[in-house]
């Protein structure tokens, strides 16, 4: 009975994540090849010049991508199934990575890292946001002091703060 069922569903048992990975690699390889073709120039003896190595990479991506793609249709078992993913937690971490990109110049290191720390803790199930913010603030102040005064590097203090106090 079970065997029958499996046989009937066999054509649909394509491993979608695997197929996507293979297709992505092939597509990337094609893009790389197209871009690389434009880099042929210079008068070096190796006629392909700067495009030679990218073309090697492109063919590598296409070949490995095709092998993975074929494997996905032949239900290659070498890849374990993709595990369950908590997308909300992932999204929180991603927001934590986007915040500094957008705000670090304006707000400066300390406020940004306070927010990032709280977001990161939240992604791992913490509900004590006030404590997390406090710890993040502490982390921000300590690293700011260490890097700017002990190591002589320049973590930004942010133009809002410098406008207010400078």
């Amino acid at each position: 009975m079970t065997r029958n069922k499996r046989a009937r569903f066999a054509p649909t048992s394509i491993q979608i994540p695997q197929a996507a990975l293979g297709a992505f690699a092939v597509l990337l390889g094609v893009c790389v090849a197209i871009a690389a073709w434009g880099y042929r120039e210079g008068s070096t003896y190796d006629s392909l010049g700067p495009s030679l190595f990218p073309l090697v990479i492109a063919s590598g991506l296409i070949v490995t991508g095709l092998v993975i793609l074929v494997g996905a249709f032949a239900s290659d078992t070498s890849a374990e199934p993709v595990e369950q993913v908590d997308w909300i937690a992932v999204a929180l971490v991603v927001v934590g990575l986007v915040v500094p990109i957008v705000l670090i110049v304006a707000l400066g290191w300390i406020p940004v890292i306070t927010i990032v720390f709280a977001l990161g803790a939240r992604a791992f199930g913490s509900r004590r946001t006030a404590v997390d913010l406090g710890l993040g603030l502490l982390f921000g102040i300590l690293t700011f002091a260490f890097f700017n005064y002990a190591l002589g590097l320049h973590l930004p203090s942010g133009w809002i703060i410098s406008r207010l106090f400078g």
């Binding site: 003896y45 190595f53 990479i57 590598g60 490995t64 374990e80 908590d86 937690a89 991603v94 190591l151």
Partner: protein, 497 residues
């Protein structure tokens, strides 16, 4: 004898109070960060790299030597008590190490790992002392085609030997090579894959990629899985010392593991996974009670841990002498050298003997410090394992941003961190190994330069790679590394049909 006097000179550099302080700081930080679950030695070194930015190179590399060994020690603690191998090399340790911890023998597992690592690290460093210089001398005689073939061998073996499938390893490698070719082309200065963005012309920084793939990728992956997994930590109890029979069962595996680890680690092809697996299998074969393996056999911890540390020491010889990294950690060490405008390889032995020998001497010192640090203080390190997960990973996230941003103080690097972090996360989910990507990234530009130089020398004739015996031999081995596993799998598939 020349080696000994160079080493003595190295000690005179490393033993100044100032440098000794950096060595001590390196081992302490290395152990402290390396102990944290989910952070392997490679990530530890990458995250701690910014700390050394203000130092002059010799002190910085003395500190790095400490971080390098400290991270290896710390990694085994998490592997044994939490069953989380920080990297492939610690995988074997988790089998019996964690089984011992479950039986309440965690302290003995940690002790045999620490003492075994000390012995292996010391013997491995002695080996490195004597192998590095001759290897550098050989390196001086290699032409571009040979270098090229050597790099192809290193890259293919790293891709084929890590992870579950050769194809995925190679895919990861090509992704790394692609990332490595972003920016100005090394010989002609043509900008490639930079989309007109100024900051990309310099290329993508290896340290950012390492932090993104390992630390950010791991944080994303752990966040994704956090709700679905539970972890148990096993407290240390009872006597913390190894009994007489523990010693009797440990010393031979230590020495055998050291031998296996050093022999394989020195090859410009290694990787830390192979020697640990080989050591484990050897111990199981030689044991009178092989059925104990997997259920807490101390030999199964002693051997692989020694092998892991010996290969970590040995991997520094191809790195220093030939500029070839064979593990993720070595790749980041190479990036650290590049940060200071130094290029490991035969010439560095001539131009910067202070730095090279000071660093090698501080490996001896670091190893001794680690033994002192680890045996009595193990309780403190174990406490680090109990940091609440939300704070631990929030901290890792902040450290990653700190590391990426302080490198060049620009926002583009933070965008790269995000994009490659997401790629690392996807690769974790899809079982694509990360290490080949990182090594491909750092070796790609070097490989391309040597390849183009070879072709210029031969006036564009590609047969130069197969008409020179050494280059041909290396390329044949590289082909075998890829083809043999594929053929074996095909044969097995035929047999089951």
């Amino acid at each position: 004898m020349e080696t000994l006097s160079l080493l003595a000179h190295g000690f005179s550099v490393a033993l100044t109070p100032f440098n000794l302080m950096w060595a001590a700081m390196g081992v302490t930080l290395g152990t402290a960060i390396g102990v944290l679950p989910g952070i392997g030695p490679a990530t530890t070194v990458a995250l701690l790299l910014p700390m050394t930015f203000g130092l002059e190179p010799t002190s910085a590399f003395i500190m790095f030597a400490g971080i390098y060994y400290g991270a290896q020690y710390g990694g085994s603690t998490a592997a044994i008590l939490l069953n989380t191998p920080g990297e492939a090399g610690a995988m074997m340790t988790t089998l019996d190490g964690n089984a011992m911890a479950r039986k309440g023998r965690g302290a003995q597992a940690l002790a045999t790992a620490a003492i075994g690592s000390f012995i292996a690290g010391t013997i491995g460093t002695v080996g490195l002392t004597f192998v590095a210089q001759p290897m550098a001398n050989i390196g001086l005689h290699l032409g571009p085609p040979e270098y090229c073939a050597l790099m192809v061998l290193a890259l293919t073996s790293v891709s084929a030997l890590f992870g579950t499938s050769v194809t995925r390893g190679l895919l990861s490698l090509f992704l790394g090579l692609l990332l490595g070719s972003v920016g100005l082309e090394p010989l002609s200065g043509v900008p490639r894959f930079s989309f007109g963005i100024m900051e990309l012309l310099d290329g993508i920084d290896t340290v950012i990629v390492a932090v993104a793939l390992f630390a950010v990728g791991e944080t994303l992956y752990s966040a994704a899985r956090f709700r679905f997994v539970t972890e148990d930590i096993y407290a240390l109890k009872g006597s913390l010392w190894m009994s007489k029979s523990d010693w009797a069962r440990s010393w031979k595996p230590w020495l055998r593991g050291t031998g296996i680890g050093f022999a394989i680690g020195t090859l410009p092809a290694g990787g830390s996974e192979v020697p640990t697996v080989l050591s484990y299998v050897t111990e199981k074969k030689l044991s009178k009670n092989p059925e104990e393996f997997g259920k807490g056999a101390i030999e199964g911890v002693a051997g692989p841990e020694a092998a892991n540390n010996a290969s970590a020491a040995a991997a520094l010889s191809p790195l220093l002498a030939l500029g070839l990294p064979t593990s993720a950690t070595a790749a980041i060490m190479l990036a650290a050298f590049q940060q200071y405008g130094l290029r490991p390889g035969p010439l560095l032995f001539q131009t910067k003997p202070d730095l090279i020998w000071g660093m090698i001497a501080s490996l001896y010192i670091g190893n001794a410090l680690l033994l002192i640090l680890n045996l009595p203080l193990i309780g403190i390190w174990v406490r680090l394992l109990t940091i609440p997960r939300p704070w631990l990973f929030a901290g890792i996230l902040c450290f990653s941003i700190l590391g990426a941003y302080t490198l060049n103080t620009n926002v583009v690097d933070l965008v790269i961190l995000l994009v490659i972090g997401l790629a690392g996360f996807a690769m974790r989910l899809l079982n694509v190994p990360l290490v080949p990507c990182l090594i491909g990234l750092i070796l790609g530009p070097l490989l391309e330069t040597q390849m183009r130089r070879s072709l210029m020398a031969s006036l564009g004739d590609p047969s130069i790679f197969v008409t020179r015996p050494i280059s041909l031999g290396l390329l044949l081995i590289a082909a075998a590394v890829i083809l043999v596993p594929l053929l074996m799998r095909a044969r097995r598939a035929m047999a089951t049909k």
